[in-house]
Amino acid sequence: MKKLSLPLLRLSVAAIALNPLFVHSELLGYIGLQGRVYPTSAAEAEQGSETVSAVIAPEWFTQWNDGDDSFNIKAFYRYDSLDSERSHGDLREFYWQHVGPSWELSIGINRVFWGVTESQHLVDIINQTDFVESADGEDKLGQPMIHFASIQSWGVIDAFILPHFRPREFAGQDGRLRSIPATLNNQERYQSDKEDEHIDYALRWSHYLGDWNLGLSWFQGTSREPLYEVIINGSDFALAPYYPLIEQSGIDAQYISGDWLWKLEAIHRRGLGHSLAEDMNASTAGFEYTFTGINTRFWDLGVLLEYSYDSRSKAQAGAFQNDIFSGGRLSLNDIASTEILFGISQDLDDSDSRSAVIEASTRLGDTMRLITELYHFRSKQTADPLYSIRRDSYVELGLEYYF
């Protein structure tokens, strides 16, 4: 752990509070190396079968004014030997934050997470997904924003002004896990004349009351999820993303009872103006239950079951139009914090449409983690969004060093 704090190497938060001029800064982050193999031959000839990639994700922050002011930077770069489009960098965070007695103001590039479910994140709309980074969609691109939060006894109000839109990045011709035909980068179209300069707005109220967590959210602006248009690119067909203007309202709720967590997320989205986007509803609901101390070594097993519904047709709805996700998390509670995550998502209308994942990780020494990941995709119908990646099941082995 490299520390740049001045003037002492390590001080408690309390000591910072006692010294108004105290500036506390730290550098941290990780670097990683991954090898990935796709055992099945590719759907298109130019797509490769193995890749080596390297990642660096440094983070730096500094706090001053009793810790009420902070400046935060988090950068990210990945090099990928197979797909030049997957070699990409992003400024995940670059923001100043001021904390008042019952409010917070953040200005700059940041990431914001909303929601409670695990299999997909319907209400989480502030940030664009980093589509080339991982198959699970958990990685997000940094979003420029002005974010004001008011923290009251009746809940937290978050208000956002989002002045710049981040389009999705798509895997290149050589890459796997892409549409067929490929989706082109830098060919995106927008409903708004202002294109990626359209100013979006969002509001959220969230509250915690005993065993309940509740959130209501509203967003107006450019949809993070594009529609796809078929275009002619030279002599070939290609897809180009089209970003409509939408309004989206969302609710997320969670109830905790003993070892049970009950979860619900639901959204209503409607197109604005002459939008090409059809109005839609979608929801994910389910539970998580943890079996603790399942053996003499005190392993824990959390199990998860979530059902997802989407009112759109299968081709538009993505992988969650009528699907069950079941999964688990096995924690060995050992010194190396070994854990294994696994899950399977099954389409209830089409027994041949499913995806599955196993991810295991363990600490080596004090600063490294060894991670292995196995994804399996199966699909037989051309209308299925999984169809284009049906031959892209893969196994990955990675090593990460944390500093």
Binding site: M1, A14, L18, F113, E118, S134, D136, G327, I335
Partner: protein, 271 residues
């Protein structure tokens, strides 16, 4: 598909690793000289002597001895005393590096399940945690979560066993039986010094009533002329012979922490 949430196990307020010795004496044992009544009065005195600290912060280092290898965990713990309920605490992890920035918020309750939240910095996500898991190991150590719990009322039934000298100090020896059915212990035997009512040693028994672990608390320091805190605690597991030491350093009292420092928002910005 996205269950990629790192799951750092939950963790509770760690400043007072003393036995929870408060209990309501049972009706039939309510005579002043019954072992139960004596035990209760010892517990009440112990609790009374630890009231009024308001808030504090400390740095915590855990050293895990696993055969030849040593492994370290570092964290900072902020605590707030709450009148008529359990304490609030926030734990911010500094090492190992892969969990750095992870933070844990806990509201302990005397008469209800605790409320617990975990902040996962990689996803900038706060997760609510089910709080029944008390007997599992904390961060791979020989400490269970319940060993790190703050000292709360009505969690045990107990009994004074005898007086005994331990390392030259006159002690009460008290048995406490957890009321929580999810506790990993059938009973705890505590040695409490008669002068300052500090726990010096605790034996933990498993559900088969065999001796599972022994905690030794030492290097007590006096803060604000009133509050004794052990600088070193050593937990020995008799079944696997592994040992974990906990060092608490740089105690600060009256740091000006208040309710607003123990919210989901403050958890997200904990550094």
């Amino acid at each position: 598909m996205s269950i990629r949430t790192q799951f750092i196990a939950p963790f509770v307020s760690a400043l007072c690793l003393c036995t929870a010795l408060l209990a309501n004496g049972q009706e039939q044992n309510n005579t002043a000289n019954s072992p139960e009544a004596i035990g209760l009065s010892i517990a009440k005195e112990m609790k009374a002597r630890d009231r009024g600290w308001v808030d504090n912060s400390a740095e915590m280092e855990m050293v895990l001895h696993n055969g030849k290898r040593e492994s370290r965990r570092e964290m900072r713990v902020l605590s707030l005393e709450v009148a008529d309920d359990g304490d609030k605490s926030m734990t911010i992890f500094d090492s190992p590096n892969d969990v750095k920035g992870t933070a844990f918020l806990s509201f302990t309750h005397t008469n209800a399940m605790d409320d617990q939240w975990l902040y996962l910095p990689a996803l900038k996500r706060v997760k609510r945690i089910a709080s029944k898991n008390k007997s599992g190991p904390f961060m791979g150590s020989e400490f269970a979560y319940e060993d790190l719990n703050s000292f709360e009322v009505e969690q045990y039934d107990y009994r004074w066993l005898r007086d005994e000298t331990l390392d030259g100090q006159d002690c009460f020896v008290v048995e406490s039986i957890p009321r929580d059915e999810y506790s990993g212990y059938s009973k705890q035997i505590s040695w409490i010094d008669k002068t300052h009512y500090r726990a010096l040693k605790i034996d933990f028994y498993d559900h088969k009533n065999t001796l599972l672990k022994t905690l030794t608390l030492s290097d007590y320091q006096l803060h604000l002329d009133k509050f004794w805190r052990p600088t070193k605690q050593s937990m020995l597991n008799h079944k696997n012979q592994r040992r974990t030491e906990v060092y608490l350093r740089n105690y600060q009292f009256g740091t000006g922490l208040d309710e607003s420092d123990f919210t989901e928002n403050s958890l997200k910005r904990a550094r």
